[in-house]
Subunit: 187 residues, 2 copies
DNA sequence: CGCCGAGTTGAACTGAATCAAGAAACGTGG
DNA sequence: CCACGTTTCTTGATTCAGTTCAACTCGGCG
């Protein structure tokens, strides 16, 4: 939990009271490899902070699992669409490794927004960071070749390649597992 | 300008003082077809509200223009990455039609955030909407065929097809103009 | 009129998907 | 510590959606 406070202190300073309030509203939970944080059809009512471990978001397309994002240490994760709209999620969130998470419900978060302008600002700034990330990924996915995407990942996030099965990475990059395997074993 | 206030009232109600403050901080501007709101290399220091007209964001890739988003009536537009990070923009924002816009500088917006928790919340909620939009586009672009992408656009945003040159739409959908032309004229 | 930009059509090419087998690696129970 | 089944990864052959290049049509406008 100290990690959460330390992490956010990296980009925005909130008051001590706000920190305490945050501290008291998050609940710790642990999940093992392959367990689910969320299964499709359910409404995602929490925002999570991933302190340790790794997980993925995936959905089913023509019976196949399509992994479209990963979460690692110090990531905030949720099924964003479901969390915001309160609609049933179309995706599943599953642990890739044993993980330690901290959860806050949407209701509690709302209360915090009302009590602490600070915290709403923090979230606003966090959204900006995540939006930029997604935008970058979008542009890359659109206009780079399979090989370039792999090499970018290799450069910027080599840890992903070590911790995550190849098939998950392939669909994250938008290519088949066979293609990724070929690219990896010498161009 | 009434449009801006009316538009935001659709999804969040802010106080009268906050409305007035907004009203006083936005500046009207008009631009003709093909004029630029932003050219690459410059820092985008404003957030814009598009009251009337149409525009596009594009960047140059191997000497070719790649249109990656459009703005229409009631859209907030900016070069998001540049606006947030204060780095020079890699993209250009150009009018597709004569347009009426309202602009607010980043500094003024910050002041408003400090004065009115309301307005920061409004922006937080707006971010949520835009994030969901982008996420949807991302998933679609990744996993739909050219034909499906065209048909989705035809269903959900037929106005785009009427107001925007085919070449812009093609690169927005991530395909060549020839492919889009073929799809449109019945496979 | 003739030019110009926008859109269309055709033919050849290509990056990546799919289908199909195998080879490694992994984990669990005996 | 080995044997066995399962999961993960690799490799090969074939197919296909979409790109590229190039030529052509059409409508508007000076």
């Amino acid at each position: 939990m100290q990690n959460l406070l330390k992490h956010i202190a990296n980009y925005y300073t909130i008051s001590n009271e706000a920190q305490n309030a945050l501290y008291n509203c998050f609940e710790r939970l642990e999940l093992n490899r392959n367990e689910y944080l969320l299964q499709q059809g359910n409404i995602c009512r929490h925002l999570y902070f991933l302190e340790k471990g790794a997980l993925r978001g995936y959905y089913l397309l023509d019976g196949k699992e399509v992994t479209h994002w990963f979460g690692f240490e110090n990531d905030f994760v949720t099924s964003f669409h479901s969390f915001i709209t309160r609609q049933p999620a179309v995706e599943n969130i599953q642990m890739i490794e044993y993980s330690i998470l901290y959860a806050i419900s949407k209701e509690k978060l709302k209360q915090l927004f009302n009590q602490y302008h600070d915290i709403e600002r923090l979230v606003r700034i966090t959204y900006e960071k995540y939006y930029i990330r997604l935008e970058e990924r979008f542009v890359n996915a659109h206009f780079k070749t399979a090989k370039e995407l792999y090499e970018d990942l290799f450069q910027h996030s080599p840890h992903i390649l070590e911790r995550v099965p190849l098939g998950y990475i392939a669909s994250y990059l938008g290519m088949s597992q066979e293609t990724l395997s070929r690219i990896r074993n010498k161009h």
